[in-house]
Symmetry: D2
Subunit: 405 residues, 4 copies
Amino acid sequence: MTRIRVGLVGASGWMGRTHALLLAAQHVVFGPEPSVSLEMVADATPELAADAARACGVARSTGDWRELVASPDVDVVDVVTPNHLHHTIALAAIAAGKHVYCEKPLAMNSRQSFAMAQAAGRRGVVTLVGYNYPVNPIHRVAREIIAAGDIGEVVNVRFSKNVDYMSDPQAPFVWRHDRSIAGSGTLGDTVSHLLSMLQYLIGDVAEVMGHVRIVHGERPLVPGAAIGRQAGPATALRKVETDDEVLVLLKLAGGATGTMDASRVATGRRMEFAYVVTGTRGSLAWSIDRLNTLEFYSAADRPGRQGFRRIEAAPEHAGYGAFYPVANIGMGYNDQKMIEIRTLIEAVAAGRTDAWPNFADAHRIQCTLDAIAASSLERRWVRVSEIAERCETTSSPVGTEGSAS
Amino acid sequence: MTRIRVGLVGASGWMGRTHALLLAAQHVVFGPEPSVSLEMVADATPELAADAARACGVARSTGDWRELVASPDVDVVDVVTPNHLHHTIALAAIAAGKHVYCEKPLAMNSRQSFAMAQAAGRRGVVTLVGYNYPVNPIHRVAREIIAAGDIGEVVNVRFSKNVDYMSDPQAPFVWRHDRSIAGSGTLGDTVSHLLSMLQYLIGDVAEVMGHVRIVHGERPLVPGAAIGRQAGPATALRKVETDDEVLVLLKLAGGATGTMDASRVATGRRMEFAYVVTGTRGSLAWSIDRLNTLEFYSAADRPGRQGFRRIEAAPEHAGYGAFYPVANIGMGYNDQKMIEIRTLIEAVAAGRTDAWPNFADAHRIQCTLDAIAASSLERRWVRVSEIAERCETTSSPVGTEGSAS
Amino acid sequence: MTRIRVGLVGASGWMGRTHALLLAAQHVVFGPEPSVSLEMVADATPELAADAARACGVARSTGDWRELVASPDVDVVDVVTPNHLHHTIALAAIAAGKHVYCEKPLAMNSRQSFAMAQAAGRRGVVTLVGYNYPVNPIHRVAREIIAAGDIGEVVNVRFSKNVDYMSDPQAPFVWRHDRSIAGSGTLGDTVSHLLSMLQYLIGDVAEVMGHVRIVHGERPLVPGAAIGRQAGPATALRKVETDDEVLVLLKLAGGATGTMDASRVATGRRMEFAYVVTGTRGSLAWSIDRLNTLEFYSAADRPGRQGFRRIEAAPEHAGYGAFYPVANIGMGYNDQKMIEIRTLIEAVAAGRTDAWPNFADAHRIQCTLDAIAASSLERRWVRVSEIAERCETTSSPVGTEGSAS
Amino acid sequence: MTRIRVGLVGASGWMGRTHALLLAAQHVVFGPEPSVSLEMVADATPELAADAARACGVARSTGDWRELVASPDVDVVDVVTPNHLHHTIALAAIAAGKHVYCEKPLAMNSRQSFAMAQAAGRRGVVTLVGYNYPVNPIHRVAREIIAAGDIGEVVNVRFSKNVDYMSDPQAPFVWRHDRSIAGSGTLGDTVSHLLSMLQYLIGDVAEVMGHVRIVHGERPLVPGAAIGRQAGPATALRKVETDDEVLVLLKLAGGATGTMDASRVATGRRMEFAYVVTGTRGSLAWSIDRLNTLEFYSAADRPGRQGFRRIEAAPEHAGYGAFYPVANIGMGYNDQKMIEIRTLIEAVAAGRTDAWPNFADAHRIQCTLDAIAASSLERRWVRVSEIAERCETTSSPVGTEGSAS
């Protein structure tokens, strides 16, 4: 396929606009082949969709995503809606034979993600889930170091992502606190990032012991409030239904152990995101504070001169040179996201359904999220395979549950 | 002006492609008004230009920049050529009544920059010089803190930018080593960044004591070699004509003192860029390693709890929210550059000729560069006003000279 | 008591020598009152003891610690032996009416520590346990900030201490791998540091979910090998009996949650030691990499200028000025330890039995260690009170067990 | 000499007490041979001396340093007085055949230091100057890396030491502002540290261009005020006579260039101390913020995995293991100083007069300080040899002058 036409569902928010931005700019970075165009946008109302279309320079818009899915001018359906719509839209798109690009978390629970992955597999369409961070070239360096055995066998991992945008107990209730829309809180929103990075670097989680909790149980209900915006005085208090904080002990398929901690109420940590991977002969460490730097320790270095070295992303690293001819100049979030979209475009062009992370990959992440939730509720270690098998053998719902301890 | 049509001279390199990328994406970030379009590209040959046009999705191309300058479909001439062409192209564009956006350094020397600033002033066109970094919202925070007096009176500054892309003595001779094309080395290429940041944050330099030198005097001549690419075996050695390293003591107009150090042979420092601004009641520090973080110390904080605090760029800081609704997520180089282009667009739309940094601002930076070069040659403190006055009173060339000590 | 005479049991190793060093130097830092003297040293053999005495400039030595405990010239028995001897020596010293200073971990298990704390309480002697780090003045600043409510209510803690001195699978078997001598591995050796710091800053742990494991199950047996020294070729392999790695989810008495991770096989992390304490209105962070710096975030700072600030230990902080009149000059490990010893000296001089951390405080830490071990074995959350109550109600042994997962 | 008896002149301040502390503790760290004792202390009055003697546990004290110098029980005279007395006391001690240990700066000017070095050389006594920092084992690692050629040829150095203890313009006038006592301000107090570190790592400075200035020209005169202590209301203003800030461009004997910046009015920088050494094939960087860590970049590392590595001081580095068997545990200022004193003790025991840095080494540093001062006054590059030759050929005073710009 040398011409790829995208239909964007959910164009009025930040992430929708970001997709539009990066689709428009693809060719300047990666060249004119294949041609990529944003053909159409859908949003909750015709007015919102029309506004977004105008802002993005797109001719067609609709207030009904089904129209977009049905359009013969759309090859790829790009799903950037709130979480509770991913399942329905993606299944409809797959049924229509469209390729699907979907923002994380893939679904509300593993039953949904199982259905989505199954449908995509049966229909043979290309799918990709937007986890944003792993595509940064610096993580490819990390993956290559691990795969080459340069840190030996992985023994332990520590993954952290903590933010503070809900740390104020008086921050108003928004859709992310509503279980019927968001599915979960920090679990789906943040731990999904950690698990995707872990899957990219090393592989899947085998077993978890989780503690999932709501820290601030009620929040003011403020008409018109959105994240980062308080529209007026509170009219009432509303019970928070999604988790603020997730702590996990984990065991990887390969035998390593690890911890994860994630929060949206981590006062002062505007955006902490970091990992440490410890092996028998070396280690790696990364933090978003130095987005493009990887720390690498090798026990093979000369004694007395060993130490973590800071590898800075540079043109000699695959994927970086398309953006900058100079090291450490500041590859940013949008650059990363453009690489992710390029992955989608190349997979669609080649008809490859196994580009990472497709719906099957994301389903395993969703199973891990559900395992963490179940572990927290039941106060016991839970194997991810237990969740996965339940998806295959039953049609009963398996929710992503948060426990308030 | 609600429709702004840009002609890009020099489209085939990294920076040209970056301009094309960001012009194409303007509207998605900043909205559809005014409309911005890249109308035409020029390059050294028709073939290069046509290739660039195809990659950038632009209809018209030319191998003769004069055709672009003369085109009635071009409102803004965007100069992204090697340094030695800035002067001629910009003067021609101004003469044609075009607005001009020019990459740094503005000119080969202060005589040229004087002529360019004079011409722009007389013709009343909008000019802007691309220094890239100061537009990052985090530096606006720094400027506001200084302007508000929150660090008291500025006492001292330290500005450093050191890179290593020429640290290998065997790296081949490229155009940046050729004085007739580059004008100078680290001085124009790097110290211009430091001076623009200083001018943005605080103001102009009054007097300098510089040491400018070539560290590696000869380099292999390799046919087809470019920066970061070695095409084949060396055929000969060629004398390096531009400076590798610049060290400066300086006095600011306001009485503060400072140091600058810059190098392109700083082995291992892939990209160091940092400043410290010390005042009587507080201080600021920034480093590109944490691109979006400003360190701020206030002596007004409670004793025993004073300390440099890390302010991370966030939606509450002007200019950041247009990109990201989340703090510290990784605003990057291209995002910065898009803000710079937006500054240009808004100035052109409003017909404002005083947006910072216009050619007059950049001329003062060029005078400082020449003062540093003169100081190094003559081994004495040189006042910047001495250079500026020479520009106004004589037509004799004032070069940007590098001394080999 | 204005004259305090110390008898040191275990003088030939690093820590014993450190005690001797700091006892000898007390008066120069803290003044001549009360007078402190090291009267006598005991070690495993008369020869070792005599050598240590000569090195430390002490007149009396013995190969039998019972002689030291019985001596009327000894007021304080200082226990710096391997772990398995703490219980016996301390009980004998208490029975003889001596004050006791004991290195961590206090005991092999909580049954032992219970007996030690009970005996000390009944006899009314002063006890102190050497955890080394919490006495650094920077942590006192942290404790005051928390106690003053300046970070609001504590929501979450993260404590990490990872070292790599056993990361080489071929590092030989030493006494720390022998359960009968060490009791446990990382649990007693390292997690005890984390728990003491947590107790000092905030308080006790209420409930734990632990994962404790041996990573390298066998090690070469090398005659004469010690930590950091390999004496010759391996003669056999020996099974490792103590844990290499400990991961914990925890709940504090006050409602906060947290994680701990500790390891002695963390390749490349020569000495990681760090904590983050997150509150509803602020946060704290510390790392041994910047031993004397505390990071403090206050939500009360002006919006747009909030950020973690680095408070550097300085003369204005209590406890620092006795050492240095200059901030951030490098207070070191031995300085910390000298403050700890001063705490002991002042408590003995005043007859205060409640100086932190006495045997009762250390017993609660030992109960937490045992709870972690039990939790790991039984794969369930364990309340610390469950362990503590078992100590009081039964005479059956409660071991510090490590599980190999 | 197996028994070394020290007489301490200036025992009542911080540094005097530190010497006493470390002399008392020598044997516990380094063993009983040679025996070291502090025999006697002198201070400005008999009362001060007696108090210091009591605090330090020394039997003999005197209010007349000449008595100490004359005592047959003193082998080493340890000079810890204000700067203006170093010259007289050291010359008297040398004349009496005593070895001399003197705190930095060695003298008020290079004429004095020349006389001191000459006298010591003629008399054959051991001399050592206390610069504190270079003896840290981590700098020995740096020196070895440089000496082994592992960073290639040194191209550039950057040395910074900035503190803020005089940043408050209202901080009262103390002896350090009085030229007749202190000789200079930041120049002697701080730049001497930078120059000693540079001399230790690489070698001597050949030529300098300095800018030396007083930032706050007058300070309140407060009866009884001392550094860090304000005793009462100001009674008058007094003109500050010593420099607050020193900025230097420099050329090393070996051809490298560099910068130095030092200040005592660097608001917020409680203690910045850092260096970068750039070579043709590698680089080093160090900062006091991570006192025991050296960053090392080697261009010989594998492409794509190059980066500055953090080498943490550990038992495998010479000089560290005497203190700690564990890496990165926090070697501190006093530990460093103890190594320095050990250097003295071993030199005296062996009768070696060439232990670094003896008076001849320190004289070259003093010449460089004088060259910086002269350069600033005369606004020109000054060769250090020019100052050194003046010392040898004239008896006229060569002062360490600060210029107020």
